[in-house]
């Protein structure tokens, strides 16, 4: 039986690990390569790097980080943040990324999803969606809206409709990142996650809001997610990756328990 996945997301700025609360006030908390190595040894199932560097030379720095990690971490490695073209995706893949996350640039130009799927295969294209709750409206009938630019720019696009469009364009997987919950440690947006997971046939990763092991269990059961993404829970040493997996396993969630 297929296991649920525990994924750790490392926000990287200027080659260093950063963590934000509700996408602002980012602060540096360490070396991403070292963290990646530590989580890999502790049984992490998959790793995501999100590049939040603002400078123009960001690509080169990020490629170095990916290359260094890919040399010693032998689990799927996913990279996103500012991917705007097939060339960006291909460069990151050559550096060692398995999967490429597209986000804002795909909202601006949805064909990017199809182009990346054609170039690197559907299964390697992850559509990462930042979504906030809004009153139901004609533009956003699901009551959820897509935002971009790290949560700063509302797009007037329905969250559920965008998930379905992304799947149709060839995304192999979806990250449902609930902006309202991001960094709060109050739990994932279960209603949103389940709504999208039930509507698509591709795997869904719950993101934003994890603070306690119970939250992961909720996301992987009632939230219908195939994988749960964590960040601050593990980055600050509050929980270990192996500890979270053992807890989930004891609670009856199918996890990979030997590594």
């Amino acid at each position: 039986m297929l296991s649920k996945r525990l994924i750790a997301c490392l926000d990287v700025r200027d080659g260093k690990l950063a963590k934000s609360v509700r996408f602002v006030n980012t602060k540096d908390i360490g070396d991403p390569v070292e963290k990646a190595r530590e989580y890999y040894a502790d049984g992490l199932d998959e790793l995501v790097f999100y590049d939040i560097t603002a400078s123009s030379d960001k690509r080169a720095i990020m490629l170095d980080v990916v290359e260094a990690v890919a040399k010693e971490v032998f689990i799927p490695l996913s990279v996103g943040g500012g991917v705007r073209s097939v060339a960006d995706a291909t460069d990151l893949r050559l550096a060692g990324a398995e999967k490429i996350n597209v986000n804002s640039a795909a909202v601006a130009r949805p064909a990017l999803i199809a182009e990346c799927a054609e170039a690197i295969g559907n299964q390697n294209v992850v559509l990462s969606m930042d979504i906030r709750q809004v009153p139901e409206s004609a533009a956003c009938p699901s009551g959820y809206e897509i935002v971009i630019n790290g949560g700063r720019t509302p797009m007037g696009i329905d969250g559920l409709a965008w998930a379905l469009e992304g799947e149709g364009l060839g995304a192999g997987e979806l990250v449902v990142n609930a902006i309202d919950a991001d960094g709060t440690r109050d739990g994932y947006e279960l209603k949103l996650t389940a709504m999208i997971a039930e509507a698509v046939r591709i795997p869904v990763i719950a993101s934003g809001g994890a603070g306690r092991p119970e939250h992961l269990k909720e996301a992987l059961t009632t939230g219908k997610a195939d994988a749960a993404l964590v960040a601050s829970m593990v980055h600050y040493g509050d929980y270990r990756v192996s500890e979270l997996k053992r807890w989930l396993h004891r609670e009856g969630v199918k996890m990979r328990m030997s590594w």
Binding site: A70, I75, R256
Partner: protein, 208 residues
Amino acid sequence: MADPIVIIDYDAGNLRSVQRACAEVGARAVISNDPVRVKAAARIIFPGVGAAGSAMASLRRNGLAEALSGAVGDGTPVLGICLGLQISLRHSEENDTQTLGLIPGQTRRFRLDRPELKIPHMGWNEVRPVRPHPLLDGIEAGDEFYFVHAYYPAPEDQACVYAHTTYENDFAAAVGRNNYFGVQFHPEKSGRVGLSLLDRFTRWDGQC
């Protein structure tokens, strides 16, 4: 002098992760699309993701299909990974493609009538050996490997099936015959257990 390991390059995905994993277990592997080099290699890794149709077209165009079949006939140890395993069979439902036919059987698409099962089968799943093979030595109950695929190998002869994995139903996760061995999962992305399988391949004499 023959290369110790050649990873066949046929425009079917990123092969550097396989090369990196070989380096991690101390083996020097070269990536090549040269049929002469493939035919002469001491060992061959035949990886691949993507579609069977375009992969077969590329293999035929470059003379790699013949080189690979020749090497298998000569007794060279060969490891197929994912699409590399699937197109070692005779036919694939993907693009209705005639494939290499090194092993009698078909590649079939998951039907997935149950809506809770996602396509592709993506993530970690248990691999259960059903008969001993040198490359599967050391795999213990509960060991999981990383899979990403929407099609699965269905060999005709059950004696060619070395391990099962359960998704929609049980399918063949490892298939072998003589000096050929193929796995549906990605050992290069499967942590310690995957590296250990690659390590055994770098020392395998092709006997089973």
